[in-house]
């Protein structure tokens, strides 16, 4: 089932919220207000929105340190996310998890993970729980193409395949693993073929096209809900910014990045919306709505208190 055209303006706003969230973080980072890691997902907003909008709030999601987009698209509060980035007590993890570990079980977000491929078995395990409970929930596991060389990736695919688990493996292939082009480290650059080698329905999709992304994930999700087992989707996309703050980006040319900007998801969707008859004003309004959401979240985060040092000792055990 395709993403109905009348939801496209909302998708556009959601993608802009993600983009502006990362832009706000970058400037806060540059102001020294954020410590630790920050792995921006700028350029990958369509995989997040297309993928996460194709499931319900009570479906499960695991993602990576680059998963701000997926977390927000799944429903994580922008305020709680922004506060977490600033290490505030009001953050989604009370300042304990930071940029790489956004979590909110109330929207099915079981956790972003800072270990490459570390979250894949968690998604498969949540899918197993759904299967055992005979619910129709599914789980999405987002990961980068560098994860396809990590052992637990394969172990999880095999387990999901033999147990026909309702889990969708979504590989965001943004062409680079940190500063190394993935073709240099991966025997089969078309990572979806690895999914296929376990007998899992596997295909590649244009990850910069939010509608294509939605449709592909939606198809996999309904197959999973009907007991059809796991699917593997490789979403072709591109990381417009560096791997992290301070990445000199010596591994790619400015031209390559410039070309990528012409086909990046937000530009693409704005063109599409105009084709559908939405005016410049409509788009500008959506953009300012997104800006307002981010400004509000930033205000909330900056006004929030830092955690009490004593709280460092809580939340270890239930």
């Amino acid at each position: 089932m395709p993403l109905s055209p009348d939801r496209l303006p909302d998708a556009y706003r959601q993608m802009l919220v993600i983009r502006k969230f990362e832009e706000a973080i970058r400037s806060l980072y540059q102001q020294g207000k954020i410590r630790g890691s920050f792995h921006p997902c700028v350029g990958q907003e369509a995989t997040a929105v297309g993928g996460c909008w194709a499931v319900r709030t009570d479906d499960y999601l695991t993602c990576t340190y680059r998963g701000h987009g997926q977390a927000l698209a799944k429903g994580l509060s922008v305020r709680a996310a922004m506060a977490e980035m600033l290490g505030k007590a009001t953050g989604c993890s009370k300042g304990k998890g930071g940029s790489m570990h956004f979590t909110d079980p109330s929207v099915g977000l079981l956790g972003a993970n800072a270990i490459v491929a570390g979250g894949l078995p968690h998604a498969a395990g949540a899918a197993l729980a759904a299967q055992l409970e005979k619910s129709d929930r599914v789980a999405l596991a987002f990961f980068g193409e560098g994860a396809v060389n990590q052992g637990v990736f394969f172990e999880t695919l095999n387990l999901a395949a033999i147990w026909k688990l309702p889990v969708i493996f979504i590989c965001e292939n943004n062409r680079y693993s940190e500063m190394t082009p993935s073709h240099a480290t991966t025997a089969t650059v078309e990572t979806y073929k690895r999914g296929g080698s376990f007998g899992i329905p596997a295909s590649i999709v244009d990850g910069n096209d939010v509608e294509a992304m939605y449709q592909a994930v939606e198809a996999a999700v309904s197959r999973a809900r009907d007991g059809g087992g796991p699917s593997y989707l490789e979403a072709a996309t591109y990381r417009l910014w560096g791997h992290m703050m301070g990445d000199p980006e010596i591994y790619r040319t400015k031209e390559e990045v410039a070309r990528a900007r012409e086909v990046e998801p937000i530009v693409r969707l704005s063109r599409r919306l105009k084709q559908l008859g939405h005016s410049e004003d409509d788009l500008a309004r959506l953009e300012s709505e997104a800006a307002t959401i981010i400004a509000d979240a930033q205000q909330f985060a900056e006004d929030s208190p830092v955690p009490d040092p004593a709280d460092a000792l809580t939340d270890v055990f239930a």
Binding site: G97, I115, G125, E133
Partner: protein, 324 residues
């Protein structure tokens, strides 16, 4: 009360908890139709079916990780590693994931996962099948580590572990499975974090757990023949550590020996000794001692393995040296 082996007691605990709570299910290698290499899961697949007693591929990282995911989603998985040594291929999932996810989420999720495995030497299984990891897990915040020595505690602690609502590493010992003991029937829980005085004595406190507890009790009888009355404490829980029981005991005995099979270096014995000197600096009349495996991998040949692992005679000698 029923006379059961340690393995049968574990089996009873699993059966009772699976009956009481449909969220409890099992994953592991050969645990289903075969009933487990050490017979711990024997017959459970016939009662609960293959969906709740799941034979896995040789993918420890994968199925421990799936246990974490299922736990995050509200289930109560119990995963079995055939040998504790294999925790190393799943170490990321145990240490980086299970132990930390709740904390990194600010307490918004929990990981009610039990990881069971037998460990230790004494059977000539070699360096990759004879290790003891409880002192490693004790270093990891976010893990509860249990190590029962008796059939009764095997049952009581496993039931407590499954209900703990947190990640638990449940340490069994390959040489204990066939040991017999009285086990309370039905609902019987051993409290987590509570040591037990197994033998009362006025002269020296011997702290141990798991397999070496039996050596400690043996040694205590031998020492008694030489007029030394040893108090023997079964730690049962490795972390959180029950220092109260230990300190109480040494207040009267003024001597302390800790015995375990994990290597001495940075082992639980060192930890207990450090805490004792921090918390009761002047309680001891003789220097505290600990016995652990010598600092080499565990060899196969009997004479070699015997000399590397702490033996009853070593315990006797270490205690007697405190009275010179």
């Amino acid at each position: 009360m029923t006379m059961l082996t340690y393995a049968q007691a574990l089996n009873a605990a699993l059966r009772e908890e699976m009956q009481a709570d449909t969220r409890v299910f099992l994953m592991g290698e050969d645990i289903g139709h075969h009933g487990g290499i050490f017979r711990v899961t024997q017959g459970l697949i016939d009662i609960f079916g293959a969906a709740r007693v799941r034979d896995t591929p040789i993918s420890e990282a994968g199925f421990v990780g799936m246990g974490i995911g299922a736990a995050l989603a509200g289930m109560r998985p119990v995963v079995e590693l055939l040998f504790m040594d294999f925790a190393l291929v799943a170490a990321d999932q145990i240490v980086n994931q299970a132990a930390k996810l709740r904390y990194m989420a600010g307490g918004t999720v929990s990981v009610p996962l039990v990881i069971r495995a037998q460990q230790g030497g004494g059977r000539g299984n070699g360096a990759q099948h004879s290790q003891s990891f409880e002192s490693w897990f004790a270093q990891v915040p976010g893990l509860i580590t249990l190590a029962p020595a008796t059939p009764a505690d095997a049952k009581g602690l496993l039931k407590s572990a499954i209900r703990a609502g947190n990640p638990v590493v449940f340490v069994e010992h390959k040489l204990l499975y066939n040991t017999k003991g009285e086990v309370p029937d039905g609902e019987y829980l051993t409290p987590i974090g509570k040591a037990e005085v197994k033998r009362i004595g006025r002269d020296v406190t011997i702290v141990s757990y798991s397999r070496t507890l039996l050596s400690a009790l043996e040694a205590a009888e031998l020492l008694a023949q030489n007029g030394i009355e040893a108090e023997v404490i079964d730690l049962r829980t490795i972390e959180p550590l029950d220092m109260v029981t230990i300190l109480e005991s040494i207040k009267s005995t003024a001597r302390l020996l800790v015995v375990h099979e994990s290597h001495a270096n940075c082992g639980l014995g060192a930890e207990i000794i450090a805490r004792v000197y921090e918390q009761l600096p002047n309680a001891l009349v003789a220097p505290a001692r600990r016995l652990g495996a010598k600092h080499v991998p565990i060899p196969v040949a009997e004479a070699l393995e015997h000399s590397v692992l702490p033996q009853t005679a070593d315990i006797v000698a270490a205690v007697e040296a405190m009275f010179d």
